[in-house]
Amino acid sequence: MTESKEMVRVEKLNKSFGDLHVLYDIDLEVKESDVVVLIGASGSGKSTLLRCLNFLEIKDDGKIIIEGEQVEADTHDLNKVRQNVGMVFQHFNLFPHKTVLGNVIEAPMQVKGISKKEAVKEGKRLLDKVGLGDKYNVYPSRLSGGQKQRVAIARALAMQPDIMLFDEPTSALDPELVGEVLETMKELGNEGMTMVVVTHEMGFAREVGDWVIYMDEGKIIEVGPPDQIFDHPKEERTKAFLDSVF
């Protein structure tokens, strides 16, 4: 087996909000095409870790290495880094004043300077791909939650990122709409996208995840392939958490 490329590497990452220490000595490695699933109780620091990876939060110390380059907030152009690291949020955060297609072509045109014609072509392709080929000119307020989240995924993909971060992408959805979003994410994973996903959908973690990371109180407690974590957890805390979920 050939050694696959390292996409994200985190070493001894620490992060506090004021007096509240949220992440302790986090180490993490994500290889190309890996789907890494972060699980853990609410408040354990999953979102903060994810947000450190695209510098929406700035770490206190430790190293964050993105595609081989150690990134520091004060020396790097974070806008450049973020172009390569897409993010999908729990509450979609679509731009309400722009149509579905407008949402998708905004960043490619404004940030990358791609022509409107090109951006529209690619935007339509992505929207077709996520099953929204009939919604180009609709405003987000007219969409269901599941449709909104799929637009958000297309919007992130339009920047052609090498890594995608998902922060509880289905937690705000009605149960009957969860499936369509997970399906889209699964396809993306199967196509080889490198993904870090925070989710409570254990079925997805098991089926799509290459690695599952269990976090508690700002620390990584256990890392392993899904069957190990779900069927033979080594740590008591992991067991207790999984018992509480299932």
């Binding site: 695209n54 929406l56 806008n79 450049k80 973020r82 172009q83 690291v85 897409g86 993010m87 949020f89 509450h91 955060n93 679509l94 731009f95 309400p96 004043h97 722009k98 905004e106 960043a107 404004q110 940030v111 990358k112 405003y139 987000p140 307020s141 958000a152 919007r155 992130a156 920047m159």
Partner: protein
């Protein structure tokens, strides 16, 4: 009553001239006020203490003094160093005044836009200024339309103070005609009608704009 109608109709040509001046004064001052308001709002949300203080100081001075005093200071005070035409003394005075209120309106509406909008834009690689221009401000302006419309109405009525430095805008015209004829009241009723009609048209315009901007809701 008959006298009022006679005066209303008989005086249209002078009042139309006054109306024209009122509109010019209002439009010029409101345009400058929007620029000032936007600028001061940016200072206020800059997170840079010294800039916030400058903005706060400006707003404090404008809100803490009567508009007529501001206009007089500009007109008589600045005239010592640099002769400023009364149109511009009034226009700039009104702009500085409205600018402070518009700044607060814009700042409030910017801060009412959910933090997730900024984060989504930044996560796509948009820098601060792109995020502000393309994502935050368009939404903030939409939200600010009713309050801005209100401020414009106040601005138009406030422009009547320009008559105190000799401008024959609507109110100035009514005052002059009243004193020339020793019969103030019908002229003041007349001018009131003019203001009411302007405000009515503006209100309808703002409502239409609100409806048009609501297509995305």
């Amino acid at each position: 009553m008959v006298e009022f109608f006679d005066i209303f109709i008989g005086s249209t040509d002078v009042f139309i001239e006054g109306l024209w001046l009122t509109l010019r004064l209002s439009v010029v001052s409101l345009l400058i006020a929007i620029v000032i308001g936007l600028f001061i709002a940016m200072l206020k949300i800059s997170n840079i203490k010294i800039l916030e203080w400058i903005a706060d100081g400006y707003i404090w001075i404008v809100r803490g003094t009567p508009l007529i005093v501001q206009i007089f200071i500009l007109y008589y005070g600045l005239a010592e160093v640099w002769l400023i035409p009364s149109f511009w003394a009034a226009g700039i005075g009104l702009a500085f005044h409205s600018g402070a209120y518009i700044a607060e309106i814009i700042r409030g509406s910017i801060q009412s836009i959910a933090k997730g909008q900024r984060e989504a834009a930044r996560s796509l690689g948009m820098n601060r200024s792109l995020t502000m221009r393309r994502i935050i401000l368009p939404q903030a302006f939409r939200r600010a339309v009713p309050a801005l419309g209100n401020q414009f109405i106040i601005g138009i009525k406030d422009s009547s103070l320009a008559s105190f430095i000799g401008l024959q805008e609507l109110f100035g015209v009514s005052n002059t005609m009243g004193s020339n004829s020793f019969n103030y009241l019908p002229y003041f009723f007349t001018v009131a009608v003019y203001y009411l009609v302007i405000v009515l048209i503006l209100t309808i315009g703002v409502n239409m704009l609100e409806k048009k901007l609501a297509v995305s809701d």
